[in-house]
Amino acid sequence: MLLNLGLALLGTAIGIIFGAIPGMTATMAVAVFLPMTYAFQLVPALYLLLGLYVGGISGGLIPAILINVPGTPSSVCTGFDGYPMARRGESERALKIGITASFFGGIISLIVLALLTPPLAKMAIKFSAIEKFLIILFAMTVIAALSKGSMTKGVFSGFLGVLLSLVGELSMNNRMRMVPDFLRNELRSGFQLLPLLIGLFAIAQMFQEAEKGMQSNNLDEGVTVEGAKKFSFSDFKGQWVNVIRSSLFGTFMGILPGVGGSAASLIAYSQAKSFSKHPELMGKGAPEGLIASESSNNGLTGGALVPLLSLGIPGDATTAVLIGAFLLQGIQVGPLFISQNPDIWNQILWALLACNILMFVVMFFPIKLISQVVKVRSARMYPVILLMCIVGAYATRSGVMFDVWCLLIFGIVGFVMNKIGLPTAPFLIGFILGGDLEKYFIEAVKGNNYDLAVFFQRPIALVIWALIAIFLGYSIYDNMKGGALEKMGVKD
């Protein structure tokens, strides 16, 4: 237990540092530290990784408030009101309001996770290959529907991920496909998840920062962490509805596959504004805007775990990375996960609770010290991150150099995808779900006399088709209107 808490503390502290340095994200933190979990059992590994996740999401508020640059995409709205508060000498108050709101967001999402996942998994156990295939199709539709900018690009990126996942040997007939002769040994089991996700989320980011010249961040003149107006819990007076509403928005957005934290933050912020008694003050340093943004983005953490642990579908890019931890330990996430691993399920809930409490303690009390993290130079961090990435990629299959080359290749792929506006999250989720999509399709069709009509006969299947139609309809409507999330500035 002590080891678990120690790892949760380590993960939370490192996650906060990653979150607080603009350009580094919670996803990157989890991806970089995933190889460390080779040495642990699944439970201690989850304490470390969930700490990184919660810390990474929460740490983003520090630069958003102090230098008006969101540390992570999910803190995009935090600076709207946090920075004006800092400018007028209320930095410490703004930081502590943000930390407290983050804590409540995390706890509310944990409650939803605990209540919603078991019944959802119970329902999903009854799914046959038909429903499982359709659920994955539905997840990909949602990812595409809510992709920033263009639905078509989101779908395209998702299917490219599926195509890549098919490289290698099909276990059903032991035949290879899409593999050049000289790579038959290296690609027998296809591209490995770990080099792919570290490349996409860490190496690509390093190239992007190198392109920008590895700029450092400095506090603006007139902004100090100390402030005349101190934080008090009475700042939350009259804000509890806002806290609960925003946390639930964040949690719900987390449940939808592929929706990032910035969408959760923006939607909660706009809702807080429309319900506010003083909307004219929002954007000028109103604590309620800060509360909405921070409680919603931490609400995402528990929400994104709901589809992962009940259906085996990751709710966001970070939980897609978490799948790697389960795979490394040979544990399948999906409908049977809770019933087959009740202890691990309980430990996940305890871990999330511990990480949220630790996040609050680590950030709230030594806030002046923690705020200095914003000055850490990314130029000094990236070489060490690169070192960890190399170790992770090489250790994936206990020493295959080809995986290190894949790390570089997927780093370049991620960099190019960002440049041409192809979202990487659908690509990763498509890659993770591609194998299952193929397996369930073949099982469903072969088991039903090769008749495609089987996908339209069962009642649950019809409900899933209806949901797919609703999301497609919404996305086409949204695209015609120019993309609501795009207009709001969603960037992840």
């Binding site: 190889p35 690009k153 395209f156 195509l163 390093m206 392109e211 590895m214 070489p383």
Partner: protein
């Protein structure tokens, strides 16, 4: 359709069915993206392919750091199986630090180079010790 699926999902063909289907969907989606772009260009009166004023990289991007990091990365991977992991890493993490800390007009600063050396030594040997000695993980 049943006949078609029965043929394609025979054991000997099964591995090719999904790659063809997904590949075809990708091509179709790519064509749709091109059509969408053509419609948008027609509406706004801009040319479909416009290299004039197009920048793949951001304006005034840091060429030294971007291309330097790519070249160092490639050299690092090539050197890894030849030298010991920790020593190779010391050299390349040092070079990455120097590269990323480089300022225009002021290539080397003694204090910065010294910090780079300390970070390279500490991180490389630290990671080697933690992963190889403590966690027993295979390293190059």
């Amino acid at each position: 359709m049943q006949k078609f699926l029965r043929e394609w999902l025979k054991i000997r063909n099964m591995h090719l069915f999904f790659p063809y289907v997904i590949g075809a969907i990708c091509v179709l989606l790519f064509v749709i993206i091109l059509i969408q772009r053509a419609i948008k260009c027609k509406k706004t009166g801009t040319p479909f392919i416009n290299f004039k004023g197009y920048h793949f990289f951001r304006p005034n991007y840091d060429k030294v750091k971007l291309w330097g990091s790519l070249i160092l990365f490639i050299l690092y991977i090539i050197t890894l199986p030849i030298l010991h992991f920790a020593w190779t890493s010391v050299i390349f993490i040092f070079l990455f630090n120097v590269l990323f800390e480089m300022k225009p007009g002021k290539l080397f600063e003694f204090k910065s180079v010294l910090i780079s050396a300390v970070i390279a030594l500490a991180s490389s040997w630290g990671v080697w010790y933690l992963f190889y000695q403590v966690f027993n993980i295979t390293l190059p």
